[in-house]
Each structure stands twice: as structure tokens, then as C-alpha cells.
Amino acid sequence: MMAGRRDRAKSLVTGPEPGPETSTDASGPRRSSLLEVSDLRIQFSTDDGVVKAVDGVSFTVDRGRTLGIVGESGSGKSVTSLGIMGLHSGGNARISGKIWLDGEELVDASPTRVRQLRGSKMAMIFQDPLSALHPYYTVGYQIAEAYLIHNKVGKKAARAHAIEMLERVGIPNPQARVDDYPHQFSGGMRQRTMIAMALSCDPELLIADEPTTALDVTVQAQILDLISELQEEFHSAVIIITHDLGVVAELADDIMVMYAGKMAEYGTSEDIFNRPGHPYAWGLLGSMPRLDQARTDRLIPIPGTPPSLINVPSGCPFHPRCSYAATTNGRCVSEVPLPRSVGLDHEVACHLSIDEQRQNWADLVAQAAPAASHGEDT
């Protein structure tokens, strides 16, 4: 399991390389990873200009493991996942780079082939389960439809399978509920239905795009548990996309932090929470009120707002909001920082040196600590 992670593509690594060197050639897939995305770029041409929604993102996911993608809204998380699924069908999208799913390249594959893989080998669940389910068809029909298209079975068998899937995802009394319409289900049950639909063909890759954002916190906990249990059962690879660091923490082994269509930092969950190296990651952690830590009097927000993806700032896209941008002799404004390895499987796209990153993070932690002791409670 660990070996798979070490095998991550290192094609963009420019800094010191602590781990054993693997292939730096990005032209071929590595066997061990189920999904490998390399230098993915997705652009949309709009009336206002070209939107660079995803701009050179690379990552891998292994079977049985979970990658979390976090970032603010508009940072390109959904576009990345829809790109993997081949769902940018509108004429205005341009995709380049490579996506290997189990050794098969998808960006240049025929649309028919990608369609066959969709729903069978890779599946996706979406943010708002009410609008993602068709209002005019029963939940049973919608699950069975996914199963029928990829398997040579009859309607009866598909329906039986739908009932079984509903049972698997914890819908009570599935025989009776299979003929209900989505509006007759509660929010949590609808998301369970989406999960049942996504898992009906036993996919190897499951992408969950903000699966709990529309749900209440107690229901969110149930759905996160369910995804986790089913992943262990099906041994699939999971990508969970969210803006909530708490949610990724619940599920993810590895985390990719995205900012303005680019990868800012990639690492294990431990790396990101305990020794983050990117100023944007520090900002995210600092601006979040946390129940698991003593209450601080003030949050440390990131100043400013995320940039438009049509006019991405030069150099490091984060530089207008970064309080360390002044310390790099203008490199942040002029030069795009490439992802650099700062530890085993830990990459940071920032011009600060590893020592500066460690020092700054240590300072931030120290700053937060005395404030906490002033805090009157918890």
C-alpha cells in the first residue's frame, strides 16, 4: 500500500528528491496506480475570455486509497473531476494532458470508449442529490438504468439489483421504497440513492464532488461513514472533493490543495494538517474555527478574494493575497512556482525554501498558541 504512494509521478519535481528516484518520464502509466493524472489542463472559451479552470495538475490515486481535493469555490475542483469522467461535452472546453485509468489513456480515447468506462469503471456522485436525480423517474429505475447499460441482464435482474443496492446503502425497507420518486426521499436518502447508483456496477474509481455539502451535519456523518465502509468493502479508489477541511480529514489519505486551477500543495493528510508548506494551506487552516482545538479570539483570514480564472495573476497566482510574497525578491510576481518535493510524497508549489516554510509554519503555530491561552475556555 505504501509502495503505491511512493510511486507517484515525479515528472514535475524540481527540488531535492528524498525518496528513491522513480521514472521521471510522464509518457507512460505506472502500473500500480489506478488513476494517474498528468499535467491536466482544462480551458473554457467564453465571451469574456479564456477561463483556465485547471492549469497543469498532476496526481495519482491507488486502489483502496482516498485522495481529497480541497480549495475554495472556483479553484477548479469540479472541473478536474468532470474532466476525469469525460463530462465536459460542451463545445467550449479544451482539454490537454494525460489521464490514465488502470493503464488506459482517456484524454485521447474515443468518446464511446470513455462512455463505456463511465458508470462501470469510474463513477461519480454530486453535491445536490435532489437536482442530480431525475424528478420523473423512480429511484429504482434510475439505479437499474445504470446497471442495465453496462451489464447484459434483463429488467427483472436489474430491478433486483437496484433493491440490493438500496439495501447496501442503508435504505430501510428497500422493496417498498424502490418505486418511490426522489421527492419522496429525504436529503440523506437521496444521497444514499446517488451512492447506490454510482456503486451499482462496482466501479474501481469513485469521485465524490462535495457529497455532503447540501446535507445536515448528522446526516453528513452518516454519508461519510457509508462512503468509507463501502470503499473498504469494494476496495475502490476514491477522490473526495470538498471545501471543508473537516470532511477531507474524515476520509482522505492524501490531500491535494488547489488554488486558481493549480495545485498548491500535495501530501498525506498528516503533512497537510501537521506540516503544511504552502502559505495558502496555512491560510486555510488559520481561517477555520476548529472544535478540536482551544478557541482562539481571532481567526486569521486570508486577505482579499480568489482571482478570476480569466486574468490569473502573474507568477504565483496566490501572490496578491500572500503575506510572504515580499520576501522572495519579486520571484512570486514574475515566476510560476513549480511543485517541489519537500518530503516523502509531499510537494509544495511555492518559492519559499523548505527551511523558510518550516520556520514560518512554526511561527504561525506559536502565534496561535498564546492567543489560545488567553481564550477563556475550551
Binding site: G119, A132, P135, Y136, E145, I149, H150, Q184, M194
Partner: protein, 335 residues
Amino acid sequence: MIAFLIRRLLATIVLLIVVSAITFGIFFLLPRLAGQTTYGLATQYVGRNPTPATIHQIEQQLGLNAPVIEQYGRFLRAIVFGEHYRSGPVVAYCPPPCFGYSFKSELPVWPQMVSDMPVTASLAIGAAALWLIGGVAVGILSALRRGSIWDRLSMGVALAGVSLPPFFTGLIALELFSYKWSIFPNVQYVGITQNPLLWAKNLVLPWTVLAFLYAALYARLTRSGMLETMTEDYIRTARAKGLPERTVIIRHALRAVLTPIITIFGMDLGLLLGGAILIEYTFSLHGLGLFTIEAINNQDLPEILGVTMLAAFFIVFANLIVDILYSVADPRVRT
């Protein structure tokens, strides 16, 4: 569902009564409010050379000077149970639904309407089928090939269809296809039971002209509905399942697009009389449309009243059908 049906049916009956009251009010009450006397009204029922005596007699016979409520009651009763009219020594029975006798021809109104109905019905049903299928098909293709030559061309034609009055397009069609090229010479109504082929052939031009008006509207509606639906989350879900694009469009998108269109279709069908009037006039087909025009020209109150009630009935009935269809199509309305 049953409860829903019963509720809807009851509401329909209530609505019909309201409509009849309004219609009655307009045609019986308004003239009086405008200062017309019952004597003046009765004058219209008497043929040429009325004498005051005969007019008074008619006034009595028709109960024109009875209280309004009583008259309305009699009007309703006549529709439901029929009515006996005394005209001198003879008692004429007007069977239900009785809308009285025409001023002009002195024939009962209802049988005339019945005899004119097949023309209008043929016109309406044929044209409706044509515009529904044609409009929706053009709309879907335009939406799927958004921005293409086809899209722009068909939407341009659709704009013309919506804005050109049908008697104008009708006259052009007659001029070209009937007189100039003689493809459909002398358009006239032939009963479907007499000669189905000739029936259809003769109606091709009127159908097309009438359908053109509506098809244009439906094409635009379908196109915009389709464009909107294709961006819905559930369409993305359908694609994410790996369904072929054809299935996504037909089973997922079209299903959602058609539901509101069916509703509008039902309403349009009910309102079709308006369109039919123009077409029948243009092509000189003697259906309910021409019947209406003649009734208005002759100020033939019973005929106008009859045709108004009939139209109202169709509209209300179409509404009922639409509601039922809608509840079948959209499960969310059922509960």
C-alpha cells in the same frame, strides 16, 4: 389519484357554471345595461316586417321580461334538459343541449354547430398533430446544434411563423399551391368517411398554414426548454452513468421538456377556434369558424351564445385533460 380526479371533475363543473353565467351575463344583461329594452331584443327574434303585436308575443314567449335569475335558470335548464317553444299553435321541442333558435335561419342552433364541427375538428386535430411533431422535432434539433446554420435558419423561420398572420401565409399558400401550380386545387371539405384520401389531400394546405403558426411557437419553446434542461444536474448524472447520448436526450431531457409543452398544447387545442376562424375564412371551409363569423355579422345572439359556450367548454375540458396528463407525467404533482 382517484380523489384527485374527482376533485378536478368537480372543479371543472363549477368552472363551467361560472363560465356560463359570465357568458349569459354578457349577452343578456349587457344590452339591457346599455339601454336596450326587452322590446328591442324581441324585435331581433321576429323576421321581416315585425308588427308590435308579434314582437310583444315573442317577448312573452321567450320570457324576456322575466327576472334575470329566472332567465338564467331557464337558459341553463335548456342546455341540460332541452326546452319547449310555443310558436303559435305548434310546440317545437328543442332537445338538449338547447341553445335556442337562430334569429336568422330560425333553425335550432345546436344541430347547426354539430354539422359544422367535423370540419373544424379535422382541421384542428390534423394541424395539431403536425405542429406538435414538427415543432418539437425542429426545436430539439436546433437545441442540439445550437448556433449552427440549421439552428439559425429554423429559428428565423420560426420567428416569421410567429409574427406572420395566418390569413397572409394562407393566401400566399393558396396563390402558389392552389392557383399557380395546382398541386392542391380547389380546397374544400370532404368528409373523412366519404373519401379519406381526398379528405386529407384537401386539408393539407389549411393544416400546414395553421400548423405553421403554432409549430413556430413550439419549436422555440422546445428549443429553449431543451437548452435549459441539458444543463440540469440530472442530465449530467445520466451521462455520468454512461448512458449513450441518444438515451440521455430522449429519455431524460425530452421527458422533462415535453411535460410543460403538453400543458401548453392542451390549452392551445382548447383555444384553437380562434386560429380556425382565420383559416376557415381564408380557405372558405364551412366549419365552426365561419359559423362564428356569420353569427357575429348577423348579430345572431343565440348562435353567438352557443358557440361561445361550446368554446368555453372545450377550453375547460382541455384544461382538465391537461391537468390529468400533467399529474401522470410529473409524479411530484400527484401527492
